[in-house]
């Protein structure tokens, strides 16, 4: 019932409606678009280097004759997947760590929050930048894990402080007296009651992760060639952006649209799930 109310509230919000429509269109473009285009993303057209957009190559071609339409959509697929996975891992981790720290208190709380402080102090950019290019043998999934490992800390602090008050609620106490193990209480009673916060956080983490991936890839510390993402494409395109604007404009434009639409949805979700809040 509640989810219906929330959805209705969400779609009454004009911003969220635009955001959802835009996001659906972008995802369709990323996953169905490649089947419509005449070229595969690995194809190289040796008769057209750095050619401007035309009927054959819709978005032009790159330095070694790649079809920019196919390559950009491929990069967008990767960016979307990275964003979703990072958000999932980061929010999950934040929920578990925060709830355990808040619920158990004592030394568990101290140790976990100390870890959070430490991760906040460590320069994430540096660590990802050092490790990720050295994972050449590994897959891009390692990169996702790294990115997620540095996104969850602040949320987990919020989760912890909310758990502190949830811990004293009657239904949680009742569960304790019924002899349900404490880890079960956390997953059954504490985490579900934080769901609005977690949903909002996960949504905004998606756009944050997409930007983070692009930013790291911009310096060559993210997705490694031959694989592509929006970040690597923007990095490549920005080098020749004045002479060959189509190399830069399409990936950059799609990145901005993607992030913007997700942020709009996240903001709408916040209004729908948590009407009292205003941050």
């Amino acid at each position: 019932m509640r989810s219906k109310v929330v959805l209705r509230r969400l779609f009454r919000n004009k911003q969220a409606r635009y955001g959802t429509v835009a996001l659906i269109l972008l995802i369709l473009l990323a996953y169905i678009g490649p089947y419509i285009g005449p070229y595969d993303w690995t194809d190289k057209d040796f008769l057209a280097f750095m050619s401007a957009p035309d009927g054959d190559h819709w978005w032009g071609t790159g330095a070694i004759g790649q079809d920019m339409y196919a390559v950009t959509l491929r990069g967008m697929q990767k960016s979307i997947i990275i964003g979703l996975l990072v958000a999932l891992i980061a929010t999950g981790l934040a929920a578990v760590v925060g709830a355990f720290a808040g619920y158990f208190g004592g030394w568990v709380d101290k140790v976990l929050m100390w870890g959070v402080d430490l991760l906040l102090v460590l320069p994430s950019f540096l660590i990802i930048a050092i490790i990720s290019p050295r994972l050449k043998g590994g897959t891009w999934l390692w990169f996702v894990v790294l990115l997620a490992a540095f996104t969850w800390m602040i949320t987990s602090r919020v989760v912890r402080s909310m758990t502190l008050s949830l811990r004293e609620r009657e239904y949680v106490l009742a569960a304790v007296y019924m002899g349900i193990p404490r880890w079960k209480i956390i997953f059954r009673h504490v985490v579900p009651n934080l769901s609005s916060l977690l949903i909002i956080d996960a949504t905004l983490n998606v756009s944050g992760a997409i930007i983070g991936e692009a930013a790291l890839s911009f310096f060559g510390f993210g997705i490694q060639p031959p694989d592509v993402s929006l970040g690597t494409l923007i990095a490549e395109g920005s080098r020749n952006a004045t002479g060959y604007p189509w190399l830069f404009a399409f990936p950059a434009g799609l990145l901005v649209l993607l992030v913007l639409s997700i942020n709009l949805i996240g903001d709408g979700l916040r209004d729908a799930l948590d009407p009292g809040s205003n941050s």
Binding site: V121, L255, L260, S279
Partner: protein, 325 residues
């Protein structure tokens, strides 16, 4: 209070030590400064390379633990060691901190002041055209990553200069070393325009969102109505009573941003070719410069903790409720 501060200081010191040590060990065990020497033409004898690397405490044939010991000992005496080609990390850091400061001070301050002003203004004129305009543009700007914004600005300026036929706005570097005196000062200011815009736009958008929400919250409250009812002019009531209270969250963020300012501008510094702390991090990683990486980490950790401390103090100063409890 004094005891609390001391305890907090001790914990922070331990965190800095751990962060810097971790970064050193990570960098020392994965980076390979030897590569830069092996690639030289004509080739250098291995024993010479070893001797050079030993002198800089960078030799990968020495176990990481031993290198860490040497590094830690010299850091305690205040010496961060040598860069990969034998320069002093301390000198480099001293120079780069001031480059970053010159670049970031104006941008950070401008971002805060303009952002708060926009936010307060659009809250006072809620749902008017100006409010909607500020809201939409801050949303779009927040979706623009800094590196994209900086690249776009550089591109636009390049085209503008090209069309004009002379360099109206500089888009790379910190100053032109050929100029002197007043001309050089003007030239420095000119070089500051683009990075400052790219730095402050994002924070303007960010602060204006926070400030608008807080201000709306405060505007509906009794004390503002009382202030107006007792005959204060609208402007005085809004700035002296409403804005001051609504400033607390933005000020907290600002204190944090001010502390972390030095390393927050990696992209802006790299794209506009300012050789500050942020750019140093990227350069050091690319050059396999272990000691510099550790020094930047140390510096960042100190900044972050100092910033967190500063923002706590500021909240205590601004918010009477925190002071009492």
């Amino acid at each position: 209070m004094g005891k609390y501060l001391l305890r907090r200081l001790a914990i922070n010191a331990i965190l800095v030590v751990i962060a810097a040590s971790l970064a050193y060990v990570l960098a020392a065990s994965t980076m390979n400064p030897r590569a830069a020497y092996q690639a030289r033409q004509p080739p250098i004898a291995e024993s010479v390379i070893d001797a050079t690397l030993d002198a800089y405490n960078l030799n990968d044939k020495t176990p990481v633990i031993v290198r860490y010991g040497t590094w830690a000992k010299s850091v305690i005496t205040g010496d961060f060691g040598k860069t990969w080609n034998g320069g002093s990390v301390n000198d480099e850091m001293g120079r780069r901190i001031f480059v970053s400061l010159r670049l970031l001070l104006i941008g950070t301050l401008a971002g805060f002041v303009i952002g708060v002003a926009f936010g307060a203004f659009s809250a006072v004129r809620q749902y008017k055209l100006s409010d909607r305009l500020i809201g939409v543009s801050s949303f779009v700007i927040m979706a623009l990553p800094v590196f994209l914004l900086a690249t776009l600005l550089a591109m636009a300026t390049y085209n503008l200069n090209d069309a004009l036929g002379f360099t109206l706005i500089e888009y790379t570097g910190e100053y032109n070393p050929k100029l002197a005196g007043w001309d050089q000062f003007v030239n420095r200011l000119n070089h500051l325009i683009l990075p400052t815009i790219s730095l402050s736009l994002g924070s303007i958008a960010f602060y204006s969102r926070i400030q608008r929400n807080m201000m709306l919250d405060v505007l509906g409250q009794d004390f503002v109505r009382t202030a107006m009812a007792k005959g204060l002019r609208r402007r005085t009531a809004l700035t002296k009573h409403a804005l001051r209270t609504a400033l607390i969250p933005s000020a907290t963020y600002f204190a944090f941003a001010f502390g972390t300012m030095f390393t927050g501008a990696i992209f802006t510094e790299k794209i506009f070719a300012w050789h500050g702390m942020g750019a140093w991090l990227v350069d050091a990683i690319n050059a396999n410069d272990v000691n510099s990486v550790a020094a930047v980490t140390f510096f960042t950790a100190v900044c972050v903790l100092f910033a967190a401390f500063l923002s706590d103090l500021l909240v205590a100063a601004l918010d009477p409720r925190v002071r009492v409890s």
